[in-house]
């Protein structure tokens, strides 16, 4: 048995698991890297065709253990569970198959005794409107993690607007995928701060309901099921659709717009030509109290150019575990309010989970120092010491 596997096999009983994160890989490259770690450095990596043949047959299961620390000394143990949705099946045509996989992953999480489970990426999109499809759960709470995702999207937009000297109050905000949980949460948080809001989604009834809620707060709103219906005036854009659409925004936004791609998989192509727009990947946070994987999946399961950066949806589960609040904080669709976002921000911040440095496919989009240099506290915390040991 390889050392890393033996190490995992000899871990403590399952009841020591505080949280579980359910995710999947968004590209075949990412999936190949995960399998390469599991296969070990002494074996040649699997050829691409073998990976594509094998991965769809892998049942949902734990891939690695995680230890996360807080800047105030709290600590939590968790598991990363992959649903092994093949990256080329992240489409509506496979929705039933994918829900079955997420259900399988949820059953794994329940079996481990995890007290709270975060649903990452496509998993939360699949389940946010279908919580009743999760397996029967007794002492395990499920959260989509969407509240913290919304918090980091909003924080990222505010930060970049401030850095670029943009005036939010004069902006026209376009939200693509506006009726999803993340999209509508962003609308509730940002709409009162901007001049005008354009909402785009496939379901016109849901669009009308959301627009009515915002209009009741005095927000100027326009809705459309197709972006072509809007004039190209949006200078602030959030892409929170559930599917990738590389040419989504071509010609549909103002030149020089600020675009937050908050999708997983990414909504936009890295090569999207958006007329001088500033694009950044939104919804990402950074853990400053320490994060350790066993086996070591650093940079493999969190593929970001900065250390200890993780998607907000997964961080929500970790934050709640560190806080000892094992409750379904984010559930259902359309229930994310500004108050709930502020509450989650406070929980996360208390444990040193903050907005990640902003970046896109070309690298950082912020000037000045990035990453842990500016994020880490001056002295090692008890949580960090525990992680290091």
């Amino acid at each position: 048995m390889g050392d890393s596997v033996a190490c995992v096999a000899r871990r403590g009983p399952a009841s020591e698991v505080d949280f579980a994160l359910i995710g999947h890989q968004e590209s075949w490259r990412a999936a190949a890297d995960v399998l390469a770690v599991l296969r070990g450095p002494e074996r040649t990596p699997l050829p691409d065709d073998e990976i594509k043949d094998l991965l769809p047959w892998i049942p949902p299961r734990a891939v690695c253990h995680l230890n996360v620390g807080s800047i105030v000394g709290a600590k939590a143990r968790g598991l990363y569970i992959d649903s092994f949705i093949p990256p080329d099946r992240l489409e509506a045509a496979y929705v039933h198959e994918n829900i079955a996989r997420v259900r399988g992953a949820a059953a794994c999480a329940i079996n481990t005794g995890a007290k709270i489970v975060s649903l990452g990426g496509f998993s939360s999109i699949l389940i946010e409107g279908n919580f009743d499809q999760l397996p029967e759960r007794h002492d395990t709470a499920f959260t989509t993690g969407n509240t913290l995702t919304v918090a980091f999207i909003v924080q990222g937009i505010k930060k970049l607007c401030a850095l670029e000297g943009r005036n939010l109050q004069r902006s026209t905000l376009l939200i693509v995928g506006a009726t999803g949980d993340v999209g509508s949460g962003c609308a509730h948080c940002l709409a009162p701060m901007v001049k005008r809001v354009l909402l785009s989604a496939r379901n016109v009834e849901r669009l009308r309901r959301l627009a009515a809620e915002l209009q009741a707060q005095g927000v100027q709103v326009e809705i459309a099921t197709s972006l072509q219906r809007f004039s190209a005036e949006a200078d602030l854009v959030i892409c929170a659709a559930s599917l990738a659409s590389p040419s989504l925004l071509l010609g549909q936004i103002a030149p020089g717009a600020l675009v937050c791609d908050a999708g997983y998989p990414k909504n936009l192509s890295p090569r999207a030509e958006l007329l001088g727009a500033t694009v950044f990947f939104g919804g990402l946070g950074q853990i400053t109290g320490g994060l350790r994987f066993a086996p070591d999946f650093h940079g493999i399961l969190n593929r970001h150019p900065f250390p200890d950066v993780v998607h907000g949806c997964l961080l929500e589960g970790m934050a709640l575990a560190l806080e000892g609040r094992f409750e379904p904080f984010s559930q259902g669709r359309g229930s994310i309010t500004r108050e709930r976002v502020e509450e989650m921000e406070a929980i996360a911040a208390r444990h040193g989970i903050c907005l990640a440095p902003l970046y896109n496919a070309d690298g950082p989009v912020e000037d000045g120092p990035h990453g842990q240099t500016e994020k880490q506290p001056m002295q090692e915390t008890a949580g960090q010491k525990w992680i290091r040991e």
């Binding site: 871990r11 599991l38 043949d53 892998i58 299961r61």
Partner: protein, 252 residues
Amino acid sequence: MEPLIDVKASPMECTSLSTSAPIWQDILAQAMTGELLAAMNYASLSEICDDPAEVADALEHAQGERGHAAAFAAEGIKIGVDVPSNVDAKHWKRLRDAFLRCIAERDFIGCLIVQEIMLESFAVASYSRVGKVAPGSLGKTFARIAAEEEDHVDHAMSILRAERALAAQRFDDKVYRLHLEVMTTLAQMLAKECKDGHCEVCHASCVKPRLFDVSLSAAELRGASLRQYLRTLDMLGIPGEVTLSWVTQLPV
């Protein structure tokens, strides 16, 4: 000595599957060889059992596996082909040798792990897939035998779970040791291409490239077998992250 199998089919029942018959012939040959090997394994197992009930159980299983082999042979006759078997073919012989090492050590649990967890996972999954696409009684026979093999696994599972409950780490180490030996051989058998020469069971060239002609593929049979194996290990309670590493480390 009683014959290994008793074939109950007459040429009168033959139907022609024309061009696909040679493919089904090779699929049946692999299945029949596996069943005969399983019958030999259970017969060997009966020799190390102390409890008369366990002896009877093992002999009953051996008889059942011979019945499965006979059923496959009979299906061959129905489609007009002779179904050969070769328990001394290189991969199958290695699997038999691995089982016999457990017998030599009088390791009843090891025997169950090899036969019920590893070999039966392969049989249940591949027979089920074949059962879905094979025509007529051929498909029904594969599906029926897959269901019967699954019952065997259920029977063994309670014994193995109880054994693991006594000392989980020791049990998992034993499974891993046997996995390296047995599943490596099975993975080589299940590879998309036979890279180390003829398997000594197919009647002519390797059947794998022609499986597409009967709506099967080597990749599908391997994937289904490994998934069944992982699920069986899950039911034993071995951590999923551990068994995932085991499987990803197998040769392709």
